[in-house]
């Protein structure tokens, strides 16, 4: 049984909904495209600050974008 608490996200889904590319979202929040890609694939867990900025950029609530 896997007890690890993994933070999932819907960044890719909401980004596509807004018609933004990874590069455009990255430019909006001030990180590199690689960081957005790593977040979307779950390789990197963003800090609270970046997570909130991403929510603002995507115009979604935190709990809509990030979930367990």
């Amino acid at each position: 049984m896997n007890d690890k608490l993994i933070l999932h996200n819907r960044v890719k889904e909401f980004r596509a909904e807004k018609g933004l590319s990874q590069g455009e979202l990255a430019a909006m929040v001030g990180v590199s495209r690689n960081t957005i890609s790593s977040i979307e694939t779950g390789q990197y867990c963003p800090t609270a600050k970046l997570a909130l900025v991403l929510c603002l950029a995507l115009e979604k609530k935190f709990e809509e974008v990030f979930y367990f």
């Binding site: 430019a27 001030g30 990180v31 690689n34 960081t35 990197y44 800090t47 950029a57 115009e59």
Partner: protein, 138 residues
């Protein structure tokens, strides 16, 4: 008990009514500030460090294998080509996968170079092994 209640009341007040002038920033203002913070952004640095640590470990392992291979060839009379065949084929496969999956141009180039190098090593050992099996000693 009373003290605890007072403290919790104060905490509650602090949570709902934070003291000091809390600036209410607009969405655009926050995004604009986030953009200008780009170079010193902790996430960017942290992710980059994680990625490079991963690559460094991977590449160090490969170089260690190459050094072992050459030391075995030049400094020892006996070496087991079948072991190196398996090892280098595995590493070559890993490198090829990394080179295919990686989208970063710089790191992709590094992986392509490593993949070529390790595949060459694997091929050399396969040749050695097959020749050894045929009874030909070099």
């Amino acid at each position: 008990m009373e003290e605890y209640e007072l403290a919790s009341e104060e905490n509650e007040r602090a949570e709902t009514e934070p003291e000091g002038a809390r600036e209410a920033l607009s969405r655009d203002e926050i995004l604009s500030r986030a953009r200008t913070e780009n170079t010193k952004n902790g996430d960017e640095r942290q992710r980059s460090q994680m990625q490079w640590a991963n690559y460094a470990g991977f590449i160090a392992m490969e170089f260690a294998c190459i050094i072992v291979m050459f030391s075995k060839i030049f400094m020892s009379d006996e070496f087991t080509p079948e072991f190196f065949c398996i090892m280098f084929t595995g590493i070559a496969a890993q490198n090829i996968v990394q080179a295919c999956v990686n989208k970063n141009r710089k790191t992709r180039t590094v992986f392509i170079v490593c993949a070529a190098l390790v595949t060459a090593c694997a091929v050399i050992y396969w040749v050695f092994w097959i020749l050894g099996l045929c009874g030909i000693r070099l």
